[in-house]
């Protein structure tokens, strides 16, 4: 347990898990609306021996792109992007993600913004990390209503990437590609395997003894809550306010 163990927020645990998953990457690209991945990437830039390139789709000031929005997709197509992140309104046990609709596509019950680049990047980036702040049977389902991007593909379909992990406030799953199934890697401090079983709509593998997720170590926390939180507030003001208590507008002024 870290020194500040009991005050650690769920988002901070997620950021720490993501930080470990992106270790050693040369280029971490972060899509729009992804504050947790952005925070983890900013940490990696400060902590990794070989500071990775970090590009934020959301922020021209924090990106390395000079050839338009297409350059992210081109770079992924060229094999230059090692890590990307997705969430999903629904994520299912086979790693399929749904960013489009709930219910029948022609007459949906709920509609989300859309698939963005997921249907492409999910194939092209070796390490896709899924994260979902709501861990429930509503979000983690047996089968998504709509496959925005499939978790796996038949062997003849060109694919160099896909999901490697799913991170939630309860736990960290890894993805077993040959079996197209998730495996419970660890449960976050304060939660239990029973809770995960209870709240997860899909079947998953797990070891006999499920480890506890290590929280952010003592040397990481001040970095996260200090300079990284400030950097984040300029791009994700609402998130930075909620998690780190930085008032909206403070970073812009």
């Amino acid at each position: 347990m870290s020194a500040a163990g009991d005050t650690i927020k769920p988002e901070e645990v997620l950021i720490e898990v993501v930080r470990r998953l992106i270790a050693g990457a040369r280029h971490v690209a972060v899509g729009a609306n992804s504050p947790i991945p952005a925070a983890a990437a900013f940490l990696a830039q400060r902590l990794e021996p070989e500071s990775p390139n970090v590009s934020l789709q959301q922020s021209p000031e924090h990106n390395l792109w000079t050839d338009g929005g297409r350059e992210l997709f081109d770079s992924a197509g060229q094999g230059r992007i090692d890590v990307f992140f997705f969430s999903g309104a629904q994520i299912d046990g086979a790693g399929n993600i749904n960013l489009n609709v709930i219910g029948d596509y022609a007459h949906p019950k709920a509609r989300f913004p859309g698939a963005y680049g997921s249907a492409y990047l999910y194939f092209m980036v070796p390490r896709i990390i899924l994260f979902r702040l709501e861990h429930s049977r509503r979000t983690l389902v047996e089968k998504v209503d709509f496959i925005s991007a499939p978790g796996t593909s038949p062997p003849n379909v060109f694919r160099r990437g896909g999901p490697i992990a799913l991170v939630t406030p309860l736990c960290h799953f890894s993805f077993d590609k040959p079996r197209a199934r998730f495996r419970l890697e660890s449960v976050h401090p304060g939660h239990s395997v029973e809770e995960v079983l209870d709240q997860t709509g899909f079947a998953f593998d797990r070891p006999e003894q499920v480890p506890v997720t290590p929280p952010p170590p003592a040397e990481v926390l001040p970095l996260l809550r200090g300079p990284v939180a400030t950097e984040l507030a300029a791009i994700y003001p609402k998130f930075a306010e909620r998690v780190f208590g930085i008032p909206v507008g403070a970073a812009v002024a």
């Binding site: 609306n33 000079t66 338009g68 698939a115 963005y116 249907a119 003849n156």
Partner: protein, 271 residues
């Protein structure tokens, strides 16, 4: 004088039924022009977003100006969903052609190159592909049992965007918003609003020329200082986050949306 017009004059190229291409927030969105289009009551637009949109598509859809939208997403990122877009899709009030970002890039680049289709890896197994009968899967003739997606080229009638600078000839400096080159090249005509006019010829300076769309692609330019408001404009000004949050709250109802239009779109005309 050349291609400079007042805002309404510049927007004459956009009429009912126009296939209108617009950029994502990071590339410069012509919001002042969008409000002018809504005031004019434009109808039946076929919007193409390169590749996603927020307030621009949302307002046009809410105002009933859009018949079809081809997009990879409409939303406000972490601020929330786009309420009028969501309502219009759920209510069947707009024809939505769901896409994924690089598909729209590829289809517009195909038009830019004069090709009938673009090519795209990935997507296979996505229901997006299943919902797009206009997209085709062929067997890569250079591979073996290697399916790959072809997308018909998108050739918009008009591209509309907001840029930092134009000179008096109609050359437009866009900086690193390189998607705007694709939009200008792929579209038959191009209308731009700009923050400021540049004295002299943007093409005569090698440093500026490198990020300048030449005037021969440009139909009309209108001056519109802070013309992307309440969205951001690169390094020039930030998004007006509070305004967007207020909008999202108001636009949860049709009635609230109308009030927003009255306050922020129609009132300007009276002013």
């Amino acid at each position: 004088m050349g291609k400079s017009r007042d805002l309404d004059g510049a927007l004459a190229a956009i009429s009912d039924g126009t296939k209108l291409a617009i950029p994502a927030d990071y590339a410069g969105v012509a919001m002042e022009a969008t409000r002018a289009l809504i005031r004019r009551g434009v109808k039946r637009l076929h919007l193409v977003t390169l590749p996603a949109s927020s307030l621009q598509a949302e307002l046009l859809i809410g105002a009933g100006a859009v018949e079809t939208i081809e997009t990879s997403a409409v939303g406000f990122g972490e601020l929330g969903s786009a309420p009028r877009f969501t309502a219009a899709v759920l209510g069947g009030k707009v024809t939505l052609k769901d896409a994924t970002c690089p598909a729209i890039h590829s289809a517009l680049r195909a038009a830019e190159m004069g090709n009938p289709f673009g090519t795209l890896r990935g997507i296979i197994g996505s229901d997006i592909l299943r919902q797009r009968p206009d997209w085709r899967v062929i067997d890569n003739p250079f591979g073996e049992n290697d399916p790959i997606v072809l997308l018909p080229a998108i050739r918009p009638d008009v591209a509309l965007f907001h840029a930092p600078l134009a000179d008096r000839k109609g050359n437009i400096w866009v900086g690193r918003r390189r998607d705007l080159f694709t939009l200008a090249h792929a579209s038959a005509r191009c209308v731009a609003t700009v923050e400021a006019l540049h004295d002299g010829d943007l093409l005569a300076d090698e440093v500026m020329a490198a990020a300048t769309i030449p005037a021969f692609y440009i139909e009309a330019v209108a001056l519109a200082p802070r013309g992307a408001w309440p969205l951001k404009m690169g390094d020039l000004y930030a998004e007006d986050t509070q305004h967007l949050l207020d909008y999202i709250a108001l636009a949860q109802t049709e009635e609230g949306f109308r009030r927003y239009l009255d306050d922020h779109v129609f009132r300007r005309r009276a002013a």
